[in-house]
């Protein structure tokens, strides 16, 4: 049971890792790595009390790493991991909306929505 939970979490984190790095790739082309890193860290800072697992996200100039989370998430229910990343993506979109209205989000919808649906499916399985 424990092993199954750990595998589900790893799959989920891999999915969110790909999603966040796709966001990173697209948005950094628009606003640059420095500003994007600032906005991601700002977002994490604002919701990390609710989702402490997000504090383990590492933001580098080359992208986002979830390797530390992978090592630490074995005891966490997959639903909680999903909720934390869902919260991050939602709040990140809110930040993008606050500064550029829909300019950034327009570029992201086609990438983000299918992956969020995929994550929902993984959880409901």
């Amino acid at each position: 049971m424990q092993k199954k939970k750990a595998t589900a979490n790893l799959d989920l984190i891999d999915l969110y890792s790909r999603l966040l790095n796709e966001i990173w790739g697209k948005v950094s082309e628009l606003i640059g790595e420095g500003l994007l890193a600032f906005l991601i860290l700002l977002t994490i800072g604002r919701i990390s009390d609710k989702f402490p697992i997000l504090r383990e996200i590492r933001v580098f100039e080359a992208g986002i790493s979830l390797e530390t989370i992978k090592k630490q998430c074995q005891d966490i229910p997959p639903e909680d991991v999903h909720r934390a990343f869902q919260g991050l993506v939602k709040n990140l979109f809110n930040v993008f909306t606050a500064i550029t209205e829909n300019v950034i989000n327009r570029e992201l919808f086609s990438t983000v929505l299918p992956k969020l649906r995929e994550a929902e499916k993984m959880i409901s399985r």
Binding site: A98, I99, T100, I104
Partner: protein, 348 residues
């Protein structure tokens, strides 16, 4: 393709102009006066964290409603990014009306309809927030965002550079403890004032100030309290002078005040006012109230006609030593007729 090249050339010229600007206001002006060449905007706004200065560059056709919308939206976005609650009354608004090159020919009700607002970040720190503002919907696309992010990146880098230069200038001019001018700057200013007074035959006075029994203060209360005594005196000096007078830390516990266009009798009145103010304003040291006293020496042109600023200072210094000799906590002034060490004493 031609339009893309034109836009890139414009972008390049804006970034160059920002990069070539040394002062903060020049950086903002470089952007504010050129951004409409690249973006279809009715206003550019920037709110700076330091001093909460809000600059708004508007097209001259924009109405009050639009400008108010820009101001509110810029403050809102800044607050969102920094998490700081801003009292609008604490913001200094600087509005500049310009004729913008507008490419959009549609109709508008003159309200703010779309914006891009990017934080100005340098080394992970927010310096402010800059916004492009339009009176029609969806005025900005991904390319506009790319261009604007490059511009704000350059603005943030130039602003940081300008801050560093400015703080280096401050370090060269100000005494780090008292925030008064330092000796080096005083030498330059006095040289200039002395030359002006000599050439234009205008009066000029200087007052040398020294804290009485400063060493025992340091020895009894410690050096931290000694430093506080210096800051306390600096604050009284600043508060006792006219806005065109110049006060500096001369060294140790000595201060020098320059009183431009001031005759001896007026300089003595000012010096006496300072003395009384120091005498009656206590310095709190723990639970104790310590009353400092100072001695002051005044010298003035044309009561004397020194050959150099050094000689001028020496005259004020001589008067100061006379004040010390007479028992301290008093003002003495240098009188040439009783040369060589002649002076007048203003009794307590």
């Amino acid at each position: 393709m031609r339009i893309i090249f034109k836009n890139l050339r414009t972008l390049w010229s804006i970034i160059n102009a920002i990069n070539a600007s040394g002062e903060l206001t020049d950086i903002i002006e470089a952007a504010g006066s050129r951004l409409s060449n690249l973006f279809d905007i009715l206003a550019f706004s920037i709110l700076l964290k330091k001093d909460l200065d809000l600059y708004v560059y508007c097209d001259e056709s924009s109405n009050r409603l639009f400008v108010d919308g820009v101001v509110q939206n810029t403050i809102k976005t800044y607050s969102f990014i920094t998490g700081e609650r801003i009292n609008p009354e604490k913001i200094t608004k600087r509005l500049a009306m310009r004729r913008f090159e507008s490419r959009w020919k549609g109709t508008s009700d003159g309200r703010l309809k779309s914006y891009i607002s990017l934080p100005l970040i340098n080394e992970g720190k927010v310096l402010g927030c800059a916004s492009l503002n339009s009176d029609h919907t969806n005025a900005f696309d991904a390319q506009a965002l790319q261009f604007f992010s490059l511009i704000t990146y350059q603005m943030a880098a130039s602003m940081k550079h300008s801050q560093v230069i400015s703080s280096m200038k401050d370090m060269a001019i100000y005494d780090s403890l008292t925030n008064l001018y330092n000796r080096r700057h005083l030498d330059q200013v006095l040289e200039e004032e002395f030359r002006n007074a000599t050439l234009s035959k205008q009066p000029l006075a200087i007052v040398m100030v020294d804290i009485d029994h400063f060493k025992p203060i340091n020895d009894h209360y410690g050096h931290d309290e000694g430093d506080r005594a210096l800051i306390h005196l600096a604050s009284i000096l600043k508060g006792s002078l006219r806005n065109y007078d110049i006060v500096s830390r001369f060294g140790g516990e000595e201060f020098l005040v320059i009183l431009p266009k001031t005759m001896m009798k007026d300089a003595v009145v000012i010096a006496e006012r300072i003395r009384r103010s120091v005498e009656t304003t206590p310095l709190s040291v723990g639970d104790e109230k310590v009353y400092l006293t100072i001695s002051l020496g005044v010298a003035a042109i044309p009561a004397i006609l020194p050959d150099s600023k050094e000689e001028f200072i020496k005259c004020a210094d001589t008067a100061l030593y006379e004040a010390k000799d007479k028992g301290r906590n008093r003002v003495c002034f240098y009188v040439p007729t009783q040369h060589p060490i002649a002076k007048g004493v203003l009794s307590r």
